[in-house]
Symmetry: C2
Subunit: 126 residues, 2 copies
């Protein structure tokens, strides 16, 4: 796909992807994509990442049901970062059961958890 | 600083930092930080990154005047990504003179430029 030609993947073949709620603008997570996952994300209009820990494609929501429908895809001035605007099914992007992965806020010298767990991960992942 | 102990930098000593407009929620850019730049960002309450191309600290806005005042700092569930909410001085984060670096939107098979240049980079950088 010519669309992907200008996109710059790093030395590991990966590109960081920022994921944002298309309605509220809340940043939900940052995940990594390889060329194949970006191609599939565009094709399926549903987020597919590359799991660096599991070393394989990660079809977001495969287990949890918390899939992300693509509303828009952007790249930046250097073509080395992706921004996805998504509809987050279930309202939970994080494996901790929170809406966003960015729930730890720096308050003074401490990282405080500032977002509630919407659903117990044990219930999400069975 | 104990605050930085739990933060996980990659094998190159870097961590990706998402930068978001604290008022509108618009994602402005993604930049990289090393430990020193994160420490200085917290201390100065102004964004300091690490330039991978120039291989040195990058005091954002040093040349352009487009500094970023820190409104909030978050880390994610894995402690391997930073999210900054900032006040973008001059309303321009991108070196192309646009507000956000994410001005290329995928429309069909093409990346279309969907944001206007607010200020000519020649005027910004002299």
């Amino acid at each position: 796909m010519d669309t992907l030609e200008k996109i710059k993947f790093d030395n590991f073949g990966l590109i960081p992807s920022i994921v944002q709620d298309f309605k509220t603008g809340e940043v939900l997570m940052l995940a990594w994509m390889n060329k194949e996952s970006l191609r599939l994300t565009i094709k399926n209009q549903q987020a597919v990442y590359y799991s660096r820990s599991r070393k394989k494609l990660w079809f977001k929501g495969e287990e949890s049901g918390h899939v992300q429908h693509i509303k828009a895809i952007y790249t930046d001035c250097d073509n080395d970062t992706i921004l996805l605007k998504v509809e987050q099914v279930g309202g939970i992007a994080c494996h901790t059961g929170r809406k966003s992965c960015f729930f730890q806020k720096l308050v003074g010298d401490n990282w405080e958890s500032v977002a509630k767990v919407i659903k117990d991960p044990k219930q999400i992942y069975g």
